[in-house]
Amino acid sequence: MLQPFRIALLSLLFLIAGQGVYSQDVETPAGTPTEMLQAGNAAYLAQNWEEASKLFQSFLDTYEADATFADTVKKVKPLLALAYIRQAKFDLAEKPMAEALADPTVEPAVRSELRFFSGLAAIQAGKHEEARKHLGGVFGDPTVEASRRMEALVLGGMSYVMEENWPGAVTFFTKYGKEIRASSPEAGGRADILHLHALMKAERWDESITLARSIFARLDQVRQVVTYSSLLIELGSKFLEQEQYYKAIAVLRLVPLRADIVQMQKAKLYEADADLQYASASKNIVRQTQIQTSLKEMEKDLENIEKMPQFDSGSRLRFAQAYFSLGRLREASLILDQMVRQMPPDALVESASVNLISGWMSLERWNRAVRAADVYIERLANLPEAKSLSGVLFARAQAYEGQYEYAKAAEGYAEVAKRFPQDELAARARFMEAYNVLQLEQYAEAGRLLESLLKDIPDDHEMWDHAFFWRGMVFYFNQQWETARSHLLDYLERSLKGGAGRGEYVDDAMFRLGYAYFSEAIYDRAIEELERFEKKEPTSEWLAEAQLTLGDSYAALGELEKAQEAYQRIEAAASGFHDEGWMKRGQIFKAQKDLAGMKTLYEAFLTERAESPRVAEALNWLGWVAKQEGKIEDARQIYWEAIRRLGNDKVRPGLEDIFIGLNSLYSGDQKQELQALLQKERSSAESRQQRNYFVRLGWAEAQLIQRAQPDESRVMLARLGEKIEPKETAPRVLVDCAEAQAQIGDNKGAERLFEGLRKWYPRAPERDRAFAGLGFLALAQNNEPRALDMFDRFEKTAVMPKSAPDANGVSIVEAEIGGKVALARARLLESGKKDLALNLYAAIQKSKAIPSRLRAEAFLGAGHLHAQRGQPREALPYFEQVYVLFNRYPELVAKAYWGRGQALEKLGKSDQAREVYSELALRDDLKTTRESLEARQRAITLGGLIEAKVPEGGEIPPAPTQPGGAS
């Protein structure tokens, strides 16, 4: 910074406020020394300094010693000095200037000018103290023109700066800054810059900030905006170094953008140019000279910024760095994001992009990271400075992976490997590609990619361990057990041999090896491997699962004691596996018909694992044990105690099963006894304000009577639903009550409960039924968009099996409710998305798991849709299928007949249509349908009813044949 600044300052030396002060008016005869003087004068007035100085010097050289010219010599000397100064020949000016100043007869105005330029010359010569003496004299002379006095003052201050006397400069500008500004805004602006520079050099940072801010408030007065902005960046950088980040921010936020600086500077140039034109036109030479110098400064400043294409990126990067250092990752990323998108691409923007991607990824804003990478690729990838393209592409792939978009991630990694095969990231990219392909369950391709990688890297490569192990896992996931085992063994052997980066997956490999045997029911080998694993890797994350599998293996071989022991070794910290171990031990006792053992076990479980979500399951088993022992009363007691103890819990997995389990302990007439007990218990729950218990009991009672009294059960559930607070109620109860309310027409109540289930139990398996319920409610309210939205969410969240996607990717839930939803969706989509509707109908038609009535409706729907689309020929087989396959549904069959008849008429086949109508009209089972009556009319219109001997597609047996062939 110093060197360019000094150069800029030096240019100030040439701020000569104008002279026009003195010219000699001497009358002399031509051809004499007078001619020399006159010519010199003329040259001087014409501002031809070289000629003037030559003539005056020549005069002095010739006549200085001549006493007759003594007065003239005195007058010439100042002019000569000034002429030399104009040419910046300070060395030559020194002598005449000193001699003129020593002359007491020199006019005050001339003396001031000479002092001013003596000061300038002294600064140039590095004689700062002397300079200040001269300039101080000028400033102190009230007869001197105001702007010249200010110039002298500013130059005086500048001399401290040139001298690098920072305390002196600071003191000076602190004392005189305001006065300079008040007198001349331009000079004030200049003084401000010098002051700021001096403060920074003196390391008076806090004062620097204060001054920087106040300069900003009067930025319009500053002619060197670039210099000012550069100082701000320097000051901000200093604070960054000192880890004073807030101060850095306070300063850096003042830095204008390059475009704004250019605009400001051009506006000032324009203004100055107008000033200059006016000064010239009004023959104000003083002002003219001032402005010309000022113009030079501003042009220089503009040139400087034009040589700084990285100005904005430098400033913003530092700004972002300050926030980053404060730990404000979001703020830093936002700043970098704008920088990357909007600033001209350069090396700084390139480096910012890389940091930005990493910033977004740290914040887990994966799509922003992807976007930032895209912007990098679009704007920067072709720059010579773009050294990070491979890293950016890699990060983009990682960001896709972060969003579970495995296909895009794989593609991204592949691109890295392809474009940068020699890059250090290439092998990692190839591995990650394979890994993401594996996530997509494309085992063959994943295996191929890993094998290809393993061929290309040496076995001491950092990626070898990963690639080799996961090659084995590909076999494993693809259930190629033998190959998986062989590969994993190979991995283990190589890991044992050691080497850099080896053995990261040893415990995993050992466990998988054992599990692979287990999966193939090779239990003895499974046991061997899993026991080895248990001994060698006691701290592995896989230990609990391994112990469970070990127990299962022993159990499979009938070594039940050892199985028990294995299950018991599972630590409580692995709570899921630990509890599963308990349950499996119970199963072992069950298999051994050791009811006492089961009882002891589950009672111990209830004590030791009181907070486990499987407590209800344990209680269920205890009840079962009592029942097996023929101790129905004991069983009932166990259940009732459990119900009373846990029944008021908010949500407990399996708890509802205990309530249902009571049913099996009361058979035949005892059901009424149970009902009475439930009602009594409910009453006391209500009085104790045990809301959840009350609700569960009501629900249990409704379940109890459901088969015998379905309507009453429904009403009971619906009424119970009115009292439910969804947040506090188990999902299973919620959904049953909601469905009951929907069935009796209490749509508002149903909506409340379905919504409650959706809101409070986003992971409950019953949530899909809530979406279905909400969809049907929306349909009833003619709110089609909402209905479709809810059905869509049903499809996404359903845990029931789904059909395989068809060629168009359409898949439906293969259950009654799935069929209903799919049918409703198809009907809704008929108006806007006919093809999708047809695909849905087709999916329902094909699914054997869906009740036949729904499938019939799907055939009918498809037929009608084809007919609507003006495709009667395509409609025909669908209608036919209905009355061929689904005769149990007369109203549907009638519609199908009618539809077929209409389609045949559209095809111009009136005779065939008449046959179909006749068949419809004559079928007894369809007589009560509207279509039957219409068909009769239509058949008559077309020529009369046809008594068909063999009805089309019908199941009516032919009439027995009479002798002679009559029928």
């Binding site: 602190t174 921010i249 006016y278 009004s282 936002l334 700043i335 986003p762 996404k796």
Partner: protein, 345 residues
């Protein structure tokens, strides 16, 4: 140095909060701060005087005790010098400065077509100040005049920008909420930083919408963190409300009121999501960078228990976000973002 700063402050106070009478007096007591150039340069160098007002027939000027009116045809260009107080009045354009701004504008508005006149700066400041007090029609009249008549093309452009801002405010009042949001997003997508006031207006508006949407979606889905479908939508509202809240302090940090308010709003978001450490960070930023803001006192009060809670590891006792009145209309989805939108997500 401190005395110097005090002088600076005093001079700034002198223009601020002035009554009309005081402002009028100040106009005639400014000394020879202003400069007039003749339309015929041969008349002489630029003439320094105090320009009291621009009348229909010419500029009324004062030099010493002498006043005269200079006809416009004599004047080639003018420049109004600015005191520190006037400078601050223009820069901050606060409602408290309205009386003084009105006086200055009325006194000088007829001079705006004259080359070099910076009277339009007072007009623009007045318009901004009027905008803040919701006197939109009056503000619009002023900016239209400047946009049509000012001699400086950049000032005309600024006047146009201010009228765009006022037009958007009109949209906010008269259009349906969905339409307002659509247009607000369109402004952010255009990413035109040449109109900072408009950007600040729309980002402030959108921030409130996004924060309301965040609260709504969490109320509607209290277990959103377990819901794979709802969580991305919720996260989007969360991130957008923070990005929009932080926008002023990062991209227009000298718009102090908006920047401080943005940081305060970010703190509200973090309070709502119970991210205590981040509340602390953003309040610390607010106090460090905008210590004079209207939120500073409250921010200081809040920091004490929040920091204590962080140190102890115990949750802070109910530092609830400020309740703002619920917006009537639910937020619809923003339009698909264009290529370079800072707020796309």
């Amino acid at each position: 140095m401190k005395a110097w700063i005090c002088c600076l402050l005093l001079s700034s106070v002198s223009a601020f909060g002035q009554t009309p009478d005081q402002a009028s007096r100040a106009l005639s007591q400014r000394g020879d701060l202003d400069e007039i150039r003749w339309s015929d340069p041969s008349k002489g160098p630029a003439f320094r005087a105090g320009i009291i007002r621009a009348l229909a027939e010419g500029l009324e000027v004062q030099r010493g005790a002498v006043k005269r009116v200079l006809a416009y045809d004599q004047i080639g260009s003018v420049k109004f010098g600015l005191t520190m107080g006037e400078r601050q009045l223009i820069a901050e354009a606060k409602p408290e400065g309205l009386p003084a701004l009105k006086v200055f504008w009325e006194a000088r508005r007829l001079s705006i077509p004259i080359q070099g006149s910076n009277a339009g700066d007072f007009g623009l400041a007045l318009a901004r100040s009027l905008r803040k007090t919701e006197a939109h029609d009056e503000a619009l009249t002023i900016v239209k005049e400047i946009a049509e008549k000012d001699s400086d093309p950049q000032r005309r452009a600024r006047a146009k920008a201010e009228s765009d801002t006022l037009a958007f405010i009109q949209v906010m009042k008269s259009e349906k909420p969905e339409e307002v949001e659509k247009r607000a997003w369109a402004v952010t997508e255009a990413a035109d930083e040449s109109n900072p006031d408009l950007m600040l207006l729309v980002t402030g508006f959108l921030m409130k919408k996004e924060f309301a949407a965040l609260k709504d979606i969490e109320t509607e889905n209290p277990r959103w963190m377990e819901d794979d479908e709802v969580k991305p939508q919720r996260d989007r509202h969360y991130h957008l409300s923070l990005d929009l809240a932080l926008y002023p302090s990062l991209f227009h940090p000298l718009a102090e009121a908006e920047s401080a308010d943005g940081l305060w709003q970010a703190a509200q978001v973090y309070l709502h999501t119970r991210e205590t450490a981040r509340v602390v960070h953003v309040l610390e930023d607010l106090l460090a960078l905008y210590s004079d803001s209207i939120h500073s006192v409250k921010a200081k009060e809040m920091l004490i228990p929040l920091k204590a809670s962080l140190e102890s590891g115990k949750p802070v006792a109910e530092a609830k976000p400020e309740e703002k009145p619920q917006e009537a209309e639910p937020m619809g989805p923003p339009p698909p973002p264009k290529r370079y939108n800072l707020f796309e997500d």
